[in-house]
Structure formats: structure tokens, C-alpha cells
Amino acid sequence: MGAVGAAAGLAACGGGSSSAGGVPESDEDHTSFVMTVWGGEEDKNAYQARIDLAKEKFPDYDITLQLIPSENYEQKVQTMISSKTGPDIMQVAENVNVYASKKQLVPIDELLAEAGLDLEETFGPVGANYTWDGATYGVPDRSGAMVLYYNKDLFDEAGVDYPSADWDWDDFLEAAKALTDPDKGQFGYGGVGWWPQWFSLVAQNGGNVLDPETGAPGVNSPEAVEALQFAHDLYFTHEVAPTEVDYSNMGPEMGADGAFQQGLVAMNSTGFWAVGGNAAIEGLNWDIAPFFHGAQSAVSAFGSALVIPTAAKNPKGSFEIIQFLTSLEGQTPIADKGQDVPANLELQGSDAFLDPDWLEADVNLQAFPDSADMIFTPKFIPEWNEMQKAIDDAMAAFWLGDADAQTTADDLQGRLERIIKPSE
């Protein structure tokens, strides 16, 4: 059986690369599909519920869910693909073009046109995220903007108005200052040291860490440096955000999410997952609002898409399943089970997502659909992981206050230029 699978895999692979840009032949008799996703137990439940729905819709198809722990996902999928036992449907995120640039994914433009599915209409700006070299590879599946979590009690104590989408950098900074109380070890804000946070600030200021068209780095542009300076000042001039040193003094594995739950930071910008975590904390009185804006509105989002590897034996079948899974009906379990923000905009605006049964607390989930239009996505370059490492390396001293914005940006720019080969 292994030999047969390997031969079929090779054949499918050869077909995919010879007809560049086309959909490989589909073996329509092949009706068993493997779908790989990452995550934990909650993710498994949500995906399985969706696959059960898909099985009802396509009784002939046998779909197997393979859940891989997040930290091993890329290596595991890499091994599966290179040993020709790759999945038929695969979850990808920022790493999409690792595969697309190496011709490991089926371009789906033709299939989308046949199905009459308009990604940007159905999913908003994130519909254009999963493209490479003019071709589309992924259908958005989950997509939640980064939002601002805030501790209502701390706001009330300090007499500060709750955050809103109207906040600009000045409003935000003023609030953060008022909410900082060194005597209580309390900080106004969780910080911006993580890429989705400071990338957002750069984009809000009109800069781009990566050129949206080519992926070329531009982290030392005046706009970007100004945004970095603002970030730096939050820590070292205004001291409204805990540095890494402050966090490590709070406890092991402590970060902004944990500090927010303990009431040590009053505001924190992160993804949807903190809703469930915060709701489980007794006595934490909190809510969410859209992220503030700068000269422009821009906010990072956390999402993933479903793609078809070239080694899939029945790409048409895979696409049918993906089309269903990303439809309103197919994504409903994401909302019902509180797993994440479904990418489908219609579902994001429906009560299934906004007023779910799983959440007792009264949380303004409307912040997610309200943020959907502000979402900016950095170009998903194939060198994504290397870029992350270069960022960590070059910015280590910056976040500790040992290097200034311009020097850091110039240094990082040099490192990124070495790694990233911009596309045409």
C-alpha cells in the first residue's frame, strides 16, 4: 500500500509541476481525504464537527482529520510532503508561500471561477492573503483581527474612558499613562514587542516592514522608524509597558496575556484566543475594543487558510470540501464552539458568532467584524521563519532599551535584505 501511495504521489507531483499554474488531473475515484490542521483539543473538536458536517454533505467522501501539535506542524507536514504522503487538504498561515513558492500547492483560481466564489467579497481583505506570483492558493478559514482587551475595573479606578476605535496614538498614550501605577506594579499596556503589534504601528504610520507587492524589506523607512520610536517610548520614556525584564520578574513564562489576567496590565492587544482564557478568570471584569489607529487604520490579524497540496490525488474533491468548510454553514462550528473568529464575514456578523452560547460574559465580540476592514497583512514571504529569527536577533537590544530606533532599524534592514529575495 505504501508503494502504491508513493507512486501515485510521484505521478501527481510530476503532473503539477509540468503544467505550471494549472490544476493537476483529478482522480475522481479517489474519495478518501486526509486533512492536516494544527492546535489542541478545542481545535480538534471544532474541526471534527465541521468535517462531520462535510461528510453529511458529501456522503461518498471519507475525510480524516489529522491534528498536529502547533509546534511540530511545519516539520511534520514537511516530512509528510517530502516522503510523498502529504495531506489532501492542509491548513496554512503565514507559512503558505514556503509551499507555494516551491510548487507544492495547487493554484485554485480556475476552481474559484468555476465555483463562482469571490474571496474578497466573502472574506474581506484577507481574501487576497494567500497568493503567490499572481496565483491564488488558499481559501481563508479563520481570521480574527488583533483587538484591544481592557480591564474595566482598572479603567474605572483611574477614571479613564473605555477604549474605542476612535482612539489615536495620543488618546491611547494618555490612557496608558493614567493606568500605570508603579507602586502597585501596574502597567497601562502589555506592550508591542511581538511582530503583529509593532508591524501594526508601522503600517498605521504609513510604513511597511515588507513591501506589499514584492516583499522587499523597508523597515528603516522614516515612517517605520518613527513608529518604532513610539513603541520604544512606551517602554523607556513613558514606562507604561513592562519590558522583558519586568515580565520575567512577574513569573516564569509570563507575558502580556498572563499579566492582563492578573490585573498587572490594564490593556493588552492580542488575538481572539484570549476571550476564552479571560472569561475563565473569576473576578476579571474586562471587555474588548478594536485596536487604536495612527495616521491610518491598520491592524494585524491572526488567521489561516485551507490549501490543496499538489500531491493530493483528487484536487477537485479537495476543493469541493474546502468550499464547503469555508462556507457559512461549514464554519459555524468555529463560532459555536468558541474556537476562533470564522473568516466568513457573513458569519462574523451573525448572532452565532456575536452572541454565542459558550460565552456567559457580555463581551463586545462586534469588535472583530468592526476591525475586519482595518486588517492589513504583511506579504507572506517564503522566508517568513528566517525573517522572524532576524527580527528577534536584531531587536533584542532594542526592546531592552540598549539600542535606539534608527540603529536597530538599519541593522534589521541589512539582515532582512540578506535573507529575503524580493519577488518581481
Partner: protein
């Protein structure tokens, strides 16, 4: 190792030479014995060839290619090696870090484990309890150890810096300071020195009591006894610890990966975490393989160096020096 120590001490007598065996005709019995030998060794030979030798040869080949693990490898000759040795912004730093870590943590670990072993060899109360306690850290998974040390090394709240503060020293930000992160990793490695201690204790038990009695009659002090009896008798164990220490420390991985991720700015990045990143996170299999082979050569060189000098200080009882 310990079995040689159990033999009676050679006193002046030349050791019997046993390697005079001339070529003998294989008798039927011997042939059968040989067959049994190959039968029993075959699982390991096959395992070695299939799971070790095969991948090793493949990785030599890969080190001369550029391979993203998806598309076919592209032959690039010595390019990977040339880039690593002349044009990689971090490789030299990483090898330097690895050598720094290894060359300090191994000798230090050996001194500490010898010191502890010597203490635990004394007839003290609760000796068994102490021996257990010393070995205990060795049994804790390295992931858990890393998490514990994350707390220990915390800048202000950490017990280490609080202890330093008591004696008026303002401790550094261990894991976030480029010049302190390697000493921090070395300190952490010392916590697990108990593994070497156990071997040394076993070796100490094997030292004949007569030697100490003779030394005592000659009026040797405790220190002199340690230096002239215990230490020479232990050198085979110490040599073993040295070789294993060199090999293990050059391949340090989990501590770095969990505790620092190689940061800040590669100040604690080591060879194996770097090759892991290149091969499995950045999809440069060929480049990663080249790092692996350079590391292999370096480890071999240090091990060979240790063996070359061992004749001067390692003392086996069964052999006699003129």
C-alpha cells in the same frame, strides 16, 4: 572500567602479554561460535547501517547540495561549506559560543563532580540520602530543568540574584544579557554534575584500601592521599567523563532551545540549535547538513586531542609504566 579497578594492584610484575595468539585454524566449534556472534550482533549492525550509516551518507551528499526538502536537491559543490566558513554572519559566533560553553562547562563540571564525589565518599551521616540528592537533578527532564532555571535566573525576583543581593552584588539579567547568558547556561549544566559524581563514586569504591593504609603509614596527609592515590586511580573514570562531556556539550540543544532560543542576538546560539533552525525551520537542508559535518569534525578533533594526551595522565592499573 570499574572492573579493571577491582583487580589486585600490579606491583612491579610485568603484565602478562596475552596478544601472542597466532593465527589458528578455525575449528568447527569456533566457526559455530562465529556464526552465533554474527547472528546476535546482526540486529545492531543492520540497525546501524539502515538507521545511522544510511542517513549519514545521505547527509554528506546533502551537504553538497541546496535542498528545500520539497523540490529536487541542486548540487552546489563546496558552496555550503565556503559560505559557512567565510560568509555566514553568525556561524563563527555560534561555533565560538559552542566552544566557550564546552571548554568551560566540561572541566568545571568535572571538578565539581570530583569534589562532590570526594565529599560523599567520606563516612558522613545520611550519606545515602546525600548521594541520592546529588544524582536527583540528573533524572529531571531537561525541559523541566529549563523551566525551573527560568525562574532561578529571573533578574530581580529570581533566587540567584536575591542571594547575590544579600552579599551586596547587583546580579545581571542572566538570560537577557549577551555577556551573561553563556555563563548562565554553564551554571545550569553544573546543576546536573551529579551524573559524573555517581561514576566517580563507583570508581572510588574500587580503590584498594591497602593503598590508603600504605600512604597513611608513610605519613601522607588527607590532601596528599587524594592527590597521590585517589586521583590517579580515578583517571580512567575522569577520562571517560571528559570524552562523554566533550561530545555531549558540543551537541547542547534543549537547554538553549527552551531557555533562550539562542538569544539575545545569537549570544547563546549553539551549533545544534542552529542546524535545527536551518534544516527544519528555514528549509535549508543542505546548509544544515554542512553545519552537522563541520560540527562532527570539530568534535572528532577535540576527542582525538583528549585521547592523544590521555597517555600522559590516565593511569590504568593493568599497565605498568617505566
Amino acid at each position: 572500567m570499574t572492573s579493571t579497578a577491582l583487580e589486585p594492584p600490579a606491583v612491579g610484575e610485568p603484565a602478562p602479554r596475552r596478544r601472542q595468539a597466532t593465527r589458528q585454524k578455525l575449528t568447527a566449534h569456533r566457526r559455530k561460535e562465529a556464526l552465533t556472534f554474527y547472528l546476535f550482533i546482526s540486529p545492531w549492525v543492520i540497525g546501524f547501517v539502515v538507521f545511522l550509516l544510511g542517513p549519514m551518507l545521505f547527509s554528506i551528499y546533502l551537504s553538497f547540495t541546496e535542498w528545500d526538502s520539497f523540490t529536487a536537491p541542486v548540487w552546489v559543490g563546496l558552496d555550503n561549506y565556503i559560505t559557512l566558513l567565510t560568509d555566514d554572519p553568525i556561524f563563527m559566533k555560534v561555533m565560538g559560543n559552542t566552544a566557550y560553553y564546552s571548554l568551560i562547562s566540561v572541566p568545571l563540571g568535572m571538578v565539581v563532580s570530583l569534589f562532590i564525589a570526594n565529599l560523599l565518599n567520606k563516612k558522613v551521616r545520611f550519606r545515602k540520602l546525600f548521594r541520592t540528592l546529588v544524582y536527583l537533578p540528573h533524572l529531571i527532564p531537561i525541559v523541566a530543568v529549563a523551566l525551573i532555571f527560568q525562574m532561578v535566573f529571573a533578574p530581580e525576583a529570581g533566587p540567584l540574584n536575591q542571594a547575590l543581593a544579600l552579599i551586596g552584588i547587583d546580579g545581571p539579567n542572566w538570560l537577557m544579557d549577551a555577556s551573561w547568558v553563556k555563563p548562565a547556561l554553564i551554571l545550569m549544566s553544573l546543576w546536573q554534575a551529579g551524573g559524573g559524581t555517581i561514576l566517580l563514586l563507583a570508581g572510588m569504591n574500587g580503590i584498594p584500601k591497602e593503598l590508603y593504609e600504605a600512604a597513611e603509614i608513610d605519613g601522607a596527609s588527607g590532601f596528599r592521599q587524594f592527590w597521590s592515590v585517589t586521583f590517579p586511580q580515578l583517571t580512567p573514570v575522569i577520562f571517560f567523563n571528559l570524552i562523554m562531556g566533550i561530545i555531549g556539550s558540543f551537541q547542547v540543544f534543549a537547554q538553549v532551545f527552551i531557555l533562550t532560543g539562542g538569544g539575545p542576538d545569537n549570544a547563546s546560539q549553539m551549533a545544534v540549535p542552529m542546524l535545527f533552525d536551518e534544516a527544519f525551520r528555514f528549509y535549508h537542508m543542505g546548509y544544515g547538513s554542512a553545519i552537522a559535518w563541520i560540527l562532527f569534525v570539530v568534535i572528532m578533533a577535540f576527542t582525538a586531542l583528549a585521547f592523544a594526551t590521555s597517555g600522559r595522565w590516565v593511569f590504568y592499573e593493568s599497565e605498568v609504566r617505566q
